[in-house]
């Protein structure tokens, strides 16, 4: 299928009334979760994961894409107006965005953030179309050893680029792998780590673990902090218009941020957040007015806000082309696909063109919706912050419980949900992040299958598994990522003075 006719076909899917409703619902939900501090898009996606069973796979994907994009837009609103980052990817926007608000240019900052997000979203979708098609075609040549290498390289990058220490990330990845070994071994039928519990014979379900670690633990985290909400002043439509100078200074940062964000989105780890930091540093370095940064430089809003949106498109590439999620949000998307018995991978474009191109087209649609929805409704969305958390939190808990119960009717899954929620909250308090665990839990079965198949094919020869062109390159990248910064650090250390 050629790319442009396929995209036209995708639009015919995305513009169907029900899919438009899913996109709109996703955009609104995403914006609201992006605005509310403590309840992020991951929590929202995790909680809604079980409800996607009641809609078709394409609708579920469109809903999730809307949530993810909406959260990126929504996070910037409270960052700029209230200095409250709704999302970790909008933390950097607070620096200059809030300073602009204090100078009476908050409306202009909001518009630049929205337009930048739209431009970046569009560029990253074009990147996604091209990269996913090319990578998908190339991946048809991949065998089990290559998939082992991709998983190992992905884990190493995830550890290195994660928000926590290398050791803590590694522990979480191994814990995730440990969890996915529970249940019946698919090749021999042997029971593993079931502890005599009948409900564990099928293994630990992804859904209660994901909802617990992201949804419930976020609720507990929010409940543990102050329940007071911020208040923003009302924004007039006239105030939303940037002046000519602001437009001129924002254009190049938007384009640079889009490219930076898309490329970082391809790498495992918290891509939207990292991309904002890289974009901000880049803009500051190449700016003619670096001293303005931190005091309300429009480039400090345009670049990062474009980058975090572009990273969303980038993150979809490994999932849609290889079937491997490298970010927790993509693990949720994969979870939703698996609930519909769809395994993404190199054949997805050929086997499910409706789904693939429909989702890509709906991303364009979601970007349009967000641009025209968010700016005129900025005052409405900011009022979301006034919703009493005391009501919101029990509702989210109940939605999570009923959602999990509705998919399995199992008391065990409800216990797993509770335990994972409490565990997720506790591990966050000591500096662990649940994202590597959930990604490892999703990639784990693929890693185990590929590893065992590779060894069977090669007669147990590890050299034959490793020394293949693609695999060796990926292992070299993994080793380089660990060793090079360490060597660099040793070389650049100043000599210790004697005595």
């Amino acid at each position: 299928m050629e790319m442009w006719p396929s995209l036209v076909h995708g639009f015919s899917v995305a513009l169907q009334p029900m899919n438009l409703i899913y996109a709109l619902a996703g955009c609104i939900l995403g914006t609201v979760t992006g605005i509310l501090p403590g309840i992020g898009p991951l929590g929202a996606m995790a909680i809604l994961l079980s409800f996607t069973l009641y809609i078709d796979a394409t609708g579920a994907m469109i809903l999730f894409a809307g949530i993810y994009y909406g959260a990126m837009y929504g996070g910037s609103t409270t960052s700029i107006l209230l200095n409250i980052p709704g999302e970790n990817s909008s933390v950097i926007t607070c620096i200059d965005g809030y300073q602009m608000t204090l100078r009476g240019r908050g409306g202009a900052a909001l518009t630049v953030a929205a337009v930048g997000s739209f431009v970046a979203g569009t560029i990253s979708i074009i990147g996604l179309m091209v990269a996913a098609s090319l990578l998908g075609r190339a991946a048809l040549q991949f065998g089990p050893p290559e998939f082992v290498a991709i998983a190992v390289c992905g884990f190493v990058l995830l550890m290195k680029l994660g928000e926590e220490s290398l050791l803590k990330s590694a522990i979480m990845i191994f814990a995730g792998l440990a969890l996915c070994t529970v249940g019946t071994d698919y090749l021999t039928g042997t029971l593993r780590f079931t502890l005599g519990v009948e409900g564990l014979i099928q293994g630990i379900e992804f859904l209660p673990v994901a909802i617990g670690l992201f949804g419930i633990s976020e609720v507990l985290e929010t409940a543990s902090a102050s329940l007071d909400a911020g208040r923003a002043k009302k924004m007039k439509f006239r105030e939303l218009l940037p002046n000519r100078e602001e437009w001129r200074r924002s254009t190049a940062p938007m384009l640079r941020g889009s490219v930076i964000g898309f490329l970082i989105g391809l790498i495992p780890g918290p891509a939207p957040m990292i991309s904002t930091f890289v974009s901000y540093i880049t803009e500051k370095k190449i700016s003619k007015r670096p001293k303005e940064f931190g005091r309300g430089a429009i480039e400090g809003v345009a670049g990062p806000e474009s980058a975090n949106n572009a990273a969303v498109g980038g993150a979809y590439v490994p999932l849609l082309a290889l079937g491997i999620p490298f970010t927790p949000a993509m693990a949720m998307v994969l979870g939703a696909l698996l609930l519909h018995n769809i395994t993404p991978g190199p054949n997805l474009i050929q086997e499910k063109p409706n789904l693939f191109w429909g989702v890509i087209a709906s991303m364009y649609v979601a970007n349009f919706m967000l641009l025209f929805l968010n700016l005129p409704m900025v005052n409405v969305f900011v009022n979301v912050l006034r919703t009493p958390r005391q009501i919101l939190l029990p509702i989210i808990v109940m939605l999570s419980l009923v959602g999990v119960y509705s998919t399995s009717a199992s008391a065990l899954d409800l216990f797993i949900l509770g335990i994972c929620g409490i565990l997720g909250f506790a591990i966050r308090r000591v500096g662990f992040k649940p994202a590597p665990l959930i990604i490892a839990m999703v990639i784990g079965p693929m890693l185990e299958n590929s590893l065992r198949q590779s060894l069977l094919i090669t007669g147990g020869d590890f050299a034959k598994v490793i020394f293949r062109p693609i695999s060796l390159t990926l292992y070299a990248v993994a080793v380089g990522v660990i060793v090079l910064p360490w060597l660099w650090g040793r070389r650049s250390k100043p000599p210790v003075p004697k005595g």
Binding site: A223, S224, A225, M398, Y405, G418, R429, E448, L451, L455
Partner: protein, 154 residues
């Protein structure tokens, strides 16, 4: 103290996991068995958690409130509600169990008072039953109260 407790917990988990994995047949490199990956993961986990334990025990104790303020009562209340729900669901059925858990959560989070809390809890229980059981056809644990709603629907 929290870090140390966690480090010990992680280490115990990895010891137990490795012990469980060791009991499984790992097979040979030519024909890996069901214990092949668990053994690799178990050894890796033991080494990593051992390192983490060693690091944590060597470090001086973390300062008080290192992780920010902590409203223990709210967290414990929500967590208790969460863990109690599966028991209540199968003994009291959906509407009553949901009402009790939501009411307790609202009371712990100090919303408005018993009357408002009860009204919100009842509304939430009935609305979620209507949406999930009557609307989406989810089979929720039902008793006499739920029967009334089924009859009303006809």
């Amino acid at each position: 103290m929290k870090q140390k407790l966690f480090a010990v917990g992680w280490f115990c988990f990895s010891v137990l996991y490795l012990a469980g994995g060791w009991g499984l047949n790992a097979g040979t490199p030519q024909k890996p068995g069901p214990g092949f990956l668990p053994r690799i993961v178990g050894v890796g986990l033991l080494v990593l958690t051992g390192l983490y334990l060693w690091q944590t025990l060597r470090k001086p104790g973390e300062p008080q409130n290192a992780c920010g303020p902590f409203h223990l009562k709210s967290v414990l209340g929500l967590a208790a509600g969460l863990m109690a729900y599966p028991f209540l669901l199968f003994h009291l059925n959906f509407i009553l169990a949901t009402f009790l858990v939501v009411y307790t959560m609202l009371w712990i989070l100090k919303y408005k008072g018993p009357v408002w809390d009860s009204l919100i809890a009842i509304s939430l229980a009935v609305m979620s039953f209507s949406v999930f059981a009557l609307g989406l056809g989810v089979s929720l644990p039902s008793g006499p109260i739920e029967e009334i709603f089924y009859r009303l629907r006809g």
